[in-house]
Amino acid sequence: MQEEFSFLSKIGREPGNLIKGLQAIQAAYGYVSDDAIRAAAEYFGRPEADVEGVISFYAQFKRVKPGKFKIAVCDGTACHLKGAPLIHTWINQELGINPGETSSDGLFSLETVACLGCCSLAPVMSVNGKVHAKLDRRTMMKILKEYAAK
């Protein structure tokens, strides 16, 4: 197996651990590359097509390299009612990206997630896992500027 995926050997080899393996790959690299698919297929003893199938089924897995700052906009019911669609509009206007895309400078990537479980603080988004609550356009712009300056 290629060096860069050698950490897979810490996970049991049974085929049922494929999802766990892919999660480890994504935790290390932020996405699952073609090389990673080959490595996982070989290690867990499953066809590459099978591995692709599992990846495309689950929303968690990314096939493109994410930005330095990963924005996840919550579109749970409470956030949706409280304006999550507008947050997408604002981000698109500011950064020119849609969900699933990474900005051309590689700084920001955007995804929509089903629910971050912070419904009482809606609308929320997270940037690299840190939750920002009760967003409006002004706080949103401020947050983006702060990250861009980091």
Binding site: I19, Y58, Q60, T77, A78, C115, C119, D136
Partner: protein, 574 residues
């Protein structure tokens, strides 16, 4: 000055407390509190008051502080037991709530084994181990507990099915996928009292003679996973996983973001490392489940009830609740109300008690409540006297679901709400059944057309026809319930659909294609904030908004200091 009366300080620091900025408050408290211990606890359910700090006094009483800002003067005020910012549970909530399953939540350190045990934790397991396994199942049957994951199946019955299997490799799975976007009871329970869920699972393992316990938890809940893992290590260190001389295997498997994996057979496929596609039943999981072994699946909150049933006895447990559901139910309240958060009430509490008395919603401003998330339906205000249990809600075209309750205000569009849920379900359909895969997509497209002002009256009949066919033609609960939000809104709010298709108007001023943004010149102070904030230069130098350029992004509405700019239904500006 630090008050000498303070014994210890507790601060709610699970997901919601952290999101509200609790970590900064914690750090400042630790720095300022000197010798007084500052303890991180779980969630008390008062999300609207986070960050929430409890000062425990030497006499055993407590003073709470809500919405604590991470500022030095606020911290000094708490340590001096000042009057400012004190929090108390709203009177009406205190009358109606019935805290049993959540009794430990927010009161103990979730990572402390000793805290749980000294409060009576694992007494239920001890009591169970002193009884024959069959008697434990009888006790659960006697309690009348029904599954809290949505289906409402009798838990005692389910246990007896697994117990009847003759196998040494039986598997019990805790369903912690909590996929309903708008529900967070299970997250909160796992984060705040992980041992309680695990104790319930260990009791089940003893009662049914299972060999393996798996928690299938969604990956979006990192803190629940972390706290459960700590608790599992503590269980192993204290040998609580040795039952009847058998060592029980316990571990967590993380989901990977698929709503359908909450369905039992899909969950099993996912545990096996496959795409999470449901399959035909029979065989039922108790006959052939994970890796072909007899498998039983229960929800997080279901397991959370078990230690209680053993501690107080099934008969005592059954005294709370109604014929249609025994015990209490935890609801996650969110949306248009004053006090969003978690609340535990006896089964049979009415919707109006939950939404108005506990949630503090304004009866004048509320239109409906959505229960059961994307599988459920909305219940109009006129029916809020309905007591909440499994059977009563189903008769209204909604379901109790797992306990998410979203309050919908008058200024929300029901068509858009239905579109939102179909957007979710059509993406989450696994694609196996044609009716679900294609049907939900067609329903979604029709709803998109309607909210874009391009709908036709015939569309409403098509939606109903499609909805009924999808319900009949789908294998699993996802397809069988996906049309519910549309069918329920068509049943109760047909007039809103008709306005969208006939008048091209959205009375809630929500659907962007059917609204105008207008500027009231008489209120305008010409500060130009709107001009500067508009991303598409739709506001002219003399403060007129060009409707063709405007994207209805609301930037100017939000920023105008004089509230001179409004979002109104199209055509009302004449």
């Amino acid at each position: 000055m630090i008050s000498p009366d303070i014994k210890q300080i507790k601060i709610g620091l699970v997901s919601c407390g952290i999101a509200a900025g609790g970590e900064a408050v914690y750090e400042k408290l630790v720095a300022a509190a000197g010798n007084i211990p500052v303890i991180k606890v779980g969630c008390l359910g008062h999300c609207y008051a986070e960050p929430l700090v409890e000062a425990v006094l030497n006499d055993g009483s407590s003073i709470f502080y809500g919405n604590v800002p991470g500022k030095d003067d606020a911290i000094e005020n708490i340590l001096a037991l000042g009057e400012a910012g004190r929090f108390s549970v709203p009177e009406k909530r205190r009358e109606k709530e019935c805290v049993k399953v959540l009794a430990f939540a927010g009161r103990i350190d979730p990572t402390s084994f000793d805290d749980y045990v000294s409060g009576g934790g694992y007494d239920g397991l001890k009591k169970a181990l002193a009884m024959p396994p069959e008697a434990v199942i009888e006790e659960v049957k006697l309690s009348g507990l029904r599954g809290r994951g949505g289906g409402g199946f009798s838990t005692g019955m389910k246990w007896s099915f697994l117990a009847a299997k003759d196998s040494t490799e039986k598997v019990i799975v805790c369903n912690a996928d909590e996929g309903d976007p708008g529900a967070f009871m299970d997250r909160s329970l796992m984060e705040s009292v992980p041992h309680q869920v695990l104790e319930g699972m260990l009791i089940a393992a003893y009662a049914t003679r299972a060999a393996k316990l798996i928690i299938y938890c969604r990956a979006e809940y990192p803190m629940a996973i972390a706290n459960l893992n700590i608790a599992i290590d503590q269980i192993k260190a204290n040998k609580l996983n040795i039952i009847d001389g058998r060592e029980i295997d316990i571990y967590i498997k993380e989901g990977a973001g698929a709503f359908v994996c909450g369905e039992e057979t899909a969950l099993i496929a996912s545990l096996e490392g496959q795409r999470g596609m449901p399959r035909f039943r029979p065989p039922f999981p108790t006959d052939s489940g994970y890796m072909g072994k007899p498998t039983m699946i229960n929800n997080v909150e279901t397991f959370g009830n078990i230690p209680l049933i053993l501690r107080e006895g099934g008969a005592e447990f059954a005294k709370v609740g109604t014929e249609g559901g025994r015990g209490t139910k935890i609801f996650a309240l969110a949306g248009d109300l004053e006090y969003p958060g978690l609340v535990e009430v006896p089964m049979g509490t009415t919707i109006s008690e939950i939404v108005f008395d506990i949630g503090g919603a304004d009866p004048e401003k509320v239109k409906a409540v959505q229960t059961g998330g994307p599988s459920g339906g909305c219940i109009p205000k006129a029916m809020f006297d309905t007591p909440v249990d499994y059977d009563s809600l189903r008769s209204l075209g909604a379901i109790m679901g797992s306990g998410g309750m979203i309050v919908i205000g008058n200024d929300r569009c029901m068509v858009e709400t239905a579109r939102y849920f179909l957007d979710f379900t059509h993406r989450e359909s696994c694609g196996k059944c044609t009716f679900c895969r294609v049907g939900t997509t067609r329903m979604f497209e029709i709803l998109e057309r309607i909210v874009a002002g391009k709908g036709k009256v015939e569309d409403l009949d098509t939606l109903e026809e499609l909805g009924n066919k999808i319900k009949a033609g789908s294998l699993c609960g996802l397809g069988q319930t996906a049309p519910n939000p549309v069918l329920a809104t068509l049943r109760y709010y047909r007039d809103e659909y008709l306005e969208h298709v006939n008048d091209k108007s959205c009375r809630a001023a929500q659907c962007s294609a059917l609204v105008d943004i207008v500027l009231d010149q008489s209120k305008c102070v010409k500060c130009k904030l709107c001009i500067n904030s508009c991303p598409v230069e739709a506001v002219s130098a003399d403060f007129v908004i060009d409707p063709d350029k405007c994207t209805r992004c609301n930037s100017c509405v939000d920023i105008c200091p004089k509230h001179a700019i409004a979002r109104i239904p199209k055509g009302e500006n004449k």
